[in-house]
């Protein structure tokens, strides 16, 4: 406990010291500002859009479009693949100021332009085509993906705007996939100080309005969001503003809550956790869900995001704060064992990026930079390098390996707050404003590179690294169906199973068990017709006078 007398003096000093390390100028939160309506029709509509539209819960075939109006009206989204011909529409006739429309039946990986309005008017549109959704690719698709990552952004001041503008410049001038931002990943604390609706208007909607109209935003809960949002009831501004999948609508496992959820995008599986309100205990509901979810994915990459950093010596300390320690000690052993590749955190207002790690769950001073094969905590011969392709080389993760992940604490998209910034597990620690961009692309050799860049508010890239995975999408060696066992042959053309027995061997029984282990067929013949069995996996149990054995078969 801090003694009051010491505390008061310390408090006075701390204000001075914080002022030295933080350039933040907290804004005077103004009342709700009307969204800047660039490209609106010339005849101003009678209903004003105050917020949005913005995109939520994107899947290969659906997306949620949300917006707010000043007066209650119907909700209409008109959309189509041609800018000049928005021939489809989705209408909700109930009048409201908080509009939420789900577009379904869309084609994967397809660009749909849209506008919003009511039954009589278009209330917001972009005649230049800057309001659109590109649906997610089908899960497992190997293609270029770009995600913009923003931690602790919500200051609503020029720091935040400069960080935003640096990314806008970057993506506008990107040599490949120019202007493509597949998603925005918010790491929490999206609106200071308390995540109120008004603060969200200022620090989120007013700042990122242009990008929110064409890129799906995902988020985890930060502690400042948590001051006004209550995970226990899923109520408050955070949960009202965002719509996240609770029933595995976007892939993954149904969590039943927006506090933690997962989704697939291309061949990446994203796991979003609530490190603030929800129990972080091993065996708790979130832990059990995460374990099942991560052990259920077949995606090539696994990325997780939650607010409280596993490793930091910035404005927070992962050696002393309970949430940070619990996430590291309880969740990371399980997630690393199941192949997580990238961990994105915020909370500390700095940029700290680790080496290529595995198995470090203790305090900073227990970190051992040696390879895991030598009892250390880094993976591969260059795991303790900088991960740069033009320096120590990319971190390598072969198709046969689960170990190796990079941890990033990137909470400086709105302010910096200093700190010792000397965590031993970190390759780079910077007290600089910025955001991150993650890009996944082919390496030209059958694998993929996952590259993350830390982009300063001043447009420079102060850090980057690459994780290279070989043999992406390599399938298991499945036995040829015709050769399912020593004495068993399956001829799929004529739906026959044939048994070869030794000269003195006499067949007693053949049993077929389906994919839940239920006995579905018996036979005493050496040639068995399986044409009537539904497609799927079966175990065949063969019993002869000499031996009993089982084989498996997939009937196609």
């Amino acid at each position: 406990m801090i003694k009051k007398s010491i505390f008061l003096i310390a408090a006075l000093c701390s204000v001075y010291s914080f002022a030295q390390t933080s350039v933040v100028d907290m804004p005077n939160v103004s009342s709700v500002v009307m969204t800047n309506k660039v490209d609106l029709p010339q005849n101003s509509p009678s209903v004003v859009v105050q917020r949005g539209p913005y995109l939520q819960s994107g899947t290969p075939t659906s997306v949620v479009v949300k917006w707010r109006t000043d007066t209650a009206t119907e909700s209409v989204v008109r959309y189509g693949t041609l800018l000049g011909s928005l021939s489809m529409n989705e209408t909700i006739t109930n009048i409201t100021t908080e509009h939420e429309v789900t577009l379904t039946g869309l084609m994967p990986n397809t660009k749909y332009y849209f506008n919003i309005g009511n039954r009589t008017e278009v209330l917001s549109e972009s005649v230049t085509g800057d309001m659109y959704v590109i649906t997610a690719p089908t899960a497992g698709t190997k293609q270029f993906v770009r995600a913009w990552i923003l931690g602790d952004a919500g200051t609503a001041n020029n720091n935040q705007r400069n960080v935003r503008d640096a990314y806008y410049d970057y993506v506008a001038n990107a040599p490949i996939n120019t202007d493509k931002t597949d998603m925005m990943l918010f790491l929490g604390d999206n609106a200071y100080k308390n995540g109120t609706d008004e603060e969200y208007q200022n620090a989120f909607f007013n700042i990122y309005d242009a990008m929110l109209k064409k890129s799906v935003a995902w988020s985890c809960l930060g502690n400042h969001d948590g001051y006004s949002a209550e995970s226990a009831t899923q109520s408050g501004p955070y949960y009202d503003i965002f719509t996240f999948p609770t029933s595995a609508e976007a892939g993954g496992t149904a969590s039943g809550t927006e506090a933690y959820y997962s989704f697939d995008y291309a061949n990446i599986h994203f796991i979003i956790l609530d490190s603030h309100h929800t129990s972080r205990a091993v065996g708790g509901a979130m832990y059990n869900w995460t374990l099942t979810d991560i052990q259920n994915t077949k995606q090539d990459w696994i990325v997780t995001l939650f607010h409280h950093p596993v490793y930091t010596k910035g404005s927070h300390d992962s050696d002393t704060e309970d949430r940070l320690i619990e996430m590291r000690e309880n969740f990371m052993p399980m997630m690393e064992a199941n192949g997580v590749d990238l961990i994105l955190n915020g909370h500390s207002h700095s940029y700290e990026r680790s080496y290529f790690l595995n198995g470090h769950y203790g305090f900073a001073n227990t970190f051992n930079p040696d390879e895991i094969l030598n009892g250390g905590h880094t993976v591969g011969p260059n795991g303790k390098g900088d991960g740069k392709t033009d320096s120590n080389g990319a971190y390598q993760k072969t198709s046969g390996a689960a170990e190796g992940a990079v941890y990033i604490t990137t909470g400086s998209a709105g302010k910096i707050s200093g700190g010792d910034l000397d965590h031993q597990a970190m390759s780079v620690s910077l007290n600089q404003l910025g955001s991150c961009v993650m890009e996944v692309e082919d390496d030209g050799r059958g694998g993929q590179n996952l590259t993350v860049k830390f982009m300063r508010d001043t447009d420079g890239i102060d850090d980057y690294f690459t994780i290279n995975k070989t043999d992406i999408g390599l399938k298991a060696n499945v036995k040829e169906p015709e050769q399912i066992g020593v004495g068993l042959f399956y001829d799929a053309q004529v739906d026959l199973i044939k048994l070869n027995l030794d000269k003195n061997e006499r067949l007693k029984n053949v049993k077929f068990y389906n994919n839940i282990g239920k006995l579905v067929k018996k036979s005493r013949k050496k040639t068995i017709n399986v044409g009537k069995l539904p497609k799927g996996l079966y175990v065949i149990e063969v019993i002869t006078n000499i031996k009993a054995y089982t084989e498996s078969i997939t009937i196609e």
Binding site: M1, I2, F7, L8, A10, A11, L12, C13, S14, V15, S17, N223, H224, S231, A232, T233, Q234, S235, T246, S247, T253, A254, S255, G256, T257, A259, T278, S279, A285, N288, W289, T292, Q295, N296, T297, K298, G314, S315, H316, D317, E321, D322, N338, G339, H347, S399, G400, A402, S417, D471, K475, A476, Y513, N515, G517, L537, V539, E541, T550, S552
Partner: protein, 270 residues
């Protein structure tokens, strides 16, 4: 400089520490403002400094704060320090002012649970579960815990609540489906438990863990042959995995567990 170092050590929680410091300055300027003490109390509470939080809440009340919220916060702090009798008094004061507040009723139920007043806890939580709008899986699970604490044979009641939760939150909500399995097993409903394992096998992409868990259960209920078939399916499912999954430590561990269970079943047979 030395003092600054001490200061950093004391204020390990970064932004929260800064806000406490700011609030302390405000209090020094307005020492009789009960709102400020309440606000600093909240910050102390978030900073896990419970005695300071309590002191500020009490001071806020002494200066004239009659808001119900302060009773709630005091009850919370007493819960966090495991002084449940005092917590019950405080939440009682709150509920005297507002007896339909769901959040307060929930806290009351939790306190009563800790005090092993299960009937009263159940009554309070029943109100919560029937009144709250945005239920989450954890609420359903907590309610079930109380039901079984009140009557450790009332699996019927607990399963009904789980079913209702599945209807409300989504039929595949994992934590509820897992709890359903636990209750079916614990209540000896073997056939339904096996159906529940089959649900997981059919529902999930990767089935190897579920096949093994089912096999283990089948062995426990003395169905070795069925267990053996399920182990075979687990082995096949592992064989169908991509190489990177096969080499993950949970899968390598699973392979060992399969071998061990197979061996155990064979030993039972012989």
């Amino acid at each position: 400089m030395a003092f600054f170092f001490l200061n950093v050590q004391l204020f390990a929680h970064g932004d929260l520490s800064m806000r406490i410091a700011e609030k302390t300055i405000e209090i020094s300027e307005e020492p009789n403002n009960f709102k400020l003490y309440y606000e600093r109390g909240l910050l102390y509470q978030q900073h896990n400094e419970y005695s300071d939080a309590l002191e500020d809440y009490r001071k806020s009340q002494a200066l004239g704060n009659t808001e119900k919220a302060v009773h709630y916060r005091i009850a919370e702090v007493y819960c966090l320090t495991e002084d449940y009798n005092e917590a019950l008094k405080s939440i009682g004061f709150y509920l005297e002012l507002d007896n339909i507040d769901v959040k307060a009723k929930k806290l009351e139920a939790q306190i009563l649970f800790q005090l092993q007043s299960y009937k009263k806890s159940l009554e309070a939580y029943r109100y919560v579960i029937h009144t709250m709008v945005d239920t989450r899986p954890e609420d359903i699970l907590e309610y079930c815990d109380i039901i079984l604490a009140e009557n450790n044979k009332n699996y019927k009641g607990a399963l009904e609540v789980i079913q209702s939760g599945l209807e409300q939150l989504g039929s595949h909500t994992l934590s509820l489906q897992l709890k359903k399995l636990d209750y079916l097993k614990d209540s000896g409903q073997t056939e339904k438990a096996l159906e529940q394992y089959n649900y997981f096998i059919l529902q999930y992409n990767r089935k190897e863990f579920w096949y093994y868990k089912k096999a283990k259960y089948l062995a426990e209920i003395n169905k070795p042959h069925e267990a053996f078939i399920s182990l075979k399916l687990a082995t096949v499912a592992i064989g169908q995995l991509q190489p990177k999954f096969k080499n993950m430590s949970p899968v390598l561990k699973l392979i060992e567990q399969i071998k061990s269970l197979k061996s155990s079943i064979n030993n039972q047979k012989s």
